[in-house]
Symmetry: D2
Subunit: 358 residues, 4 copies
């Protein structure tokens, strides 16, 4: 999987920002120092033709009476790298922060004159769970992602999707292999989470398995197709197996790609679940990249989303009573709380009362 | 309801095109010669402020890298008149014909270079019921329409809606009264259709009832609110009834308005049902106006839609056998067809074999 | 509107339970002492034929291998009265609490043996916003309700609906008139809320207007149709106006009816919004009646819904900091909180810190 | 993949009916004579526990006032075998043919007394594309299927799904290998279809690749997990790789399973597309099995579906003119038709005018 930079005529180097991200809900700082080794993995292969097509789109200049988002226009069509071979591209969008206000008011014009009024209304709508005005903005992405992540993603049904068809075409010879920083053991406390890093020989063995098996199954895919990924026929005297059948031999870390379009409300629902610290890392990095595009597109909505959704705490009816007692200075602890241990700890963790966790 | 043109400072005159429309399915030419009398009904009241807001939006010029639809831009934001006080305005859109091709191909660039290739693919997609590429275009309308029509319209669920709230605001003093050309009796053959025109004294009486009842219930609405439509308080010493209650006194021909946003696929489904000759006239005129905007927006898709949907015939398994026999010159008639009389006639009408209708 | 009990052959008396309901979010006890006068309003008119049809359905006994909800079966098909002429009937259902567990586990069998295990899992799923298992239960209602309430209701799009068609049939001669306890003035603080009661002469006047206008517009509806609600033709020499047109003369408090089917997840979303104290009273009473049917149907889910949704508090990121300071005994007040006055008060009200409201 | 019948304690033999199926659209008889060799492939492995769980459910007898479908009850919970290791089980349902009529009429009772009246209405509704009454029936399936088929299936968004989670659990050691009768070459005329059978050594090689690669990647999956499919730990001193990561090594023919619930309208839409001769064989066999369950459940709707959808022909506006000319005995051929060659042939094939195909 490790590519030697610059040797392949079709490869292109993207230097990704070194970022300090913190996991949302836990608020623990989770510094990602990317080693030189892992940088090398951040390589997307775009062909010369693909690069030219993107450049052509970026060179377009049209005049429009529609509202535009100046910051989002700057990165329109750009392939933002995710994982080792994936990307997210904003391909089109409709509306901006003012469109939310405009439709909430069923306005003949722009809705308001002042940004401050817009902000107040958008915050109000977000706080009180008004949903329909946020549906009035729409965005379309082109995404390249591993199949096992695509299977999680597609569970969000309120979106429009066109996926690259492996019945019709041959898939690219690209598959995801985790960086060593992501090679975690099964969590012992959480059946759907990760625990400590796997290191040393065991890590090397895992990476070797993933690379070898993906490579072998892809080679056999080509063999059954009797055709190489670039269209070369292997044996002119043979017919290849139907593409719709041969694809079943590929592993789930093979990359696929799709156009994915949704409205702002459903995008925020997606990001709330998938940019969360409990989401699998491999989908979270897509969500985080998309969250950056939301910030450029609708900055007021983005800020309200961070305050009222991402950083918010949902307290149950029973939990509310605990908080009330704590504020009044009453003695309350797990034993007399009426909560299960798990619920007690979730509540204390949410408010960062770490000394109260049992 | 009849407005004297030009006297009210808030009224504006739209000259609508005189058009020959033919009802889709029946293919019968249904000429609508609009008399002077009915023209006077085509009056929308827009306040000076509303007119200025629309003009301000139309004056916007932004640069964008997004694809644009030049013809649709020309009428963007314009209030296209429908019925006596209603309108349809295109407020925003995303994508054009090339976006369908681009997403069907999951393309890095524009999809194709040539319009002819685009056309072939769009026709193919429409003919073979491929749906997802047409979902990749989106459009947003601002519509003013009578409540009883809004209730039909909202049954189309795959759309985003923000309606003007009569819990929050006072509705405009406007209600739909049919023109005399539309004052039809109940059909005797079709329980949900119209028959012959009602004329003479009975027509005058119906129009008088509709106007009087709408006016009286609106006046009582203001009285209960203790507030005029323009915000004037009627009796300073009284509290008005809650708006969410007072509205229940209004008649179903009162006008409401909403922002309505949908993708191209679902818009075409809506238009297929609502621009059809079996649809109620009062919603059909909205659908026809919107169909004109589709033609400006995505002309290739519009043409394919006319060929493969609007003008198409759906023949059942049993109907297919009849057609096969007819082509082979075999004697086949209603009695030996195995079809019910109704089905037989529907089939003959669909192919315009009028002499075979029994 | 006031019916003399027992005189009309088609009327039937339902004695509704006197209930102490508390408004959910405000937690203020809101005792509804129903006066004799308002009891008289709780009258649904069911024809003898309708009553017989319901009785016939209730007499059905079928054997099934499907899971059944014993408590819900007891009230199946029964018309539970709501408002003056409305009702809610459970007509069919699929699944129970165990179905949620079964599908969450993708089980070959029942999922679990013990109710306690089911309860633990259902609470966990509700707390962590797992949605899909709750979609695995389905319920179907027959509802009679005023049109202006139907227009709010239909905004919940993820449901299946068949409404009684006024294009096709004549609507019943029934319209909603509020009881005096519900005749509230417009709220001065909340643009979409109710304030103090309207009483005395003004109340009498409002009720008179509502009754007179509904009666007159209905009488004119019959006149234009040339047909009485019971099918009697008024003038044999005339044709009536098409039903699809005549209906526009009816007022928005006319009753309509529909079959409405949805899954448990979307039902709970509906109830969360519509059984809330901020919802309009006239839809809230439907939601409360339906919430009772949910309790009979899926009691474990119902309890989890009350704890984790209805009685829960959603605290924003900024609000969380305030709570943390309050628990630590730090001085924090509106002025130094960084919150707007409205947000501050909403937070204090949510935790019932009434002395802190400014 | 070939199982020796009866030797494994967990295997179970299902004798599937030998059926003459004809491909829908083409109407060509496509006899499937299953050789002994392929019968052996029809083996589902169910554990003793799973078999007991199914038997326990089938032994349930509850009394209900709901409508029941006697024929569907007979096969409720039964695992109907599909492909080599897959199955379809009906787990629950709501409504029957009478429910469609009942909701179309917004009835207080059963809707109608006579089956013949029901049949007439259901046929009318189907013929005229009325959709909402068919949404009033609901069904829930438990399905075991290969992942590459699950990815096609999930594109139908209007359904509820709970899939077995490979983040949480270890997938079964089962993968799909086609029978020799299905080992087709890529079609040369249709980019997403199959052509001639691959036979001889090449066929053996393909089957060997599919089996070896699936077996090896599964073995490595266990090795990375440090755990066998039955829960045995491989090396007590090691931690296994997180399940959410290890699964990426599996091939796309691995079996997954889910609960899938949808309404009758959307089920018919699914079956229309997936039981069609253009659908991939591996999803078509699921659709055909489900179509049989629809016949048991709602036989009147099933018959109408065959007549008005499955066996129907959709004729474009241009195609209609050709048919008109043919019936009138006019000379019309491809050259003067105005159709493309492809469209001409599609039209002639639809009406089985084989001699006119060019």
């Amino acid at each position: 999987m490790v590519e030697v930079v610059g040797t392949a005529p079709t490869s292109v180097m993207f230097i990704t920002k070194f970022v300090y991200r913190h996991s949302w809900k836990t608020n623990s700082i989770n510094i990602k120092l990317l080693s030189l080794d892992s940088i090398i993995l951040f390589i997307m292969k775009l062909t010369q033709e693909q690069k030219q097509e993107i450049a052509d789109q970026q060179a377009q200049k049209h005049e429009t009476k529609r509202v535009t988002s100046v910051e989002l226009e700057k990165i329109l069509y750009e392939a933002l790298p995710v994982l080792d071979h994936g990307f997210v591209r904003v391909v089109d969008y409709m509306g901006d922060d003012t469109s939310i206000v405009q439709s909430a008011r069923v306005s003949y014009g722009k809705g308001t004159k002042k940004v401050s009024t817009d902000e107040g209304l958008i915050k109000y709508l977000m706080r009180h769970w008004h949903s329909t005005p946020f549906e009035m903005c729409e965005i379309k992405y082109h995404v390249k992602l591993p199949i096992f992540i695509a299977r999680q993603w597609i569970r969000h049904r309120t979106a429009n999707v066109n996926e690259y068809s492996a019945r019709y075409s041959i898939l690219d010879k690209e598959f995801y292999v985790p960086s060593k920083e992501q090679l975690s053991a099964q969590s012992t406390s959480n059946r759907q989470g990760r625990g400590d890093l796997i290191t040393g020989d065991q890590a090397d063995e895992v990476l070797k398995i993933l690379k070898d098996d993906a490579t072998r199954t892809y080679d056999n895919y080509e063999k059954m197709l009797n055709e190489k990924f670039d269209g070369t026929i292997i044996d002119e005297k043979k017919s290849g197996l139907a593409r719709e059948l041969a694809r079943m031999n590929l592993t789930l870390n093979s990359y696929t790609q799709w156009y994915w379009k949704t409205d702002l409300l459903n995008l925020l629902n997606f990001l709330f679940l998938r940019a969360d610290s409990h989401a699998q890392y491999e989908i979270r990095v897509y969500a985080e990249t998309m969250l950056d595009t939301v910030k450029k597109w609708v900055p007021i909505t983005h800020a309200a989303f961070l305050d009222y959704r991402v950083g918010a705490v949902h307290v149950s009816s029973k939990g509310k009573k605990i908080i009330q007692q704590l504020v009044k200075g009453e003695k309350v602890n797990y034993e007399n709380s009426g909560l299960s241990k798990r619920e007690w700890n979730e509540l204390m963790a949410a408010f960062e009362f770490k000394e109260k966790i049992v």
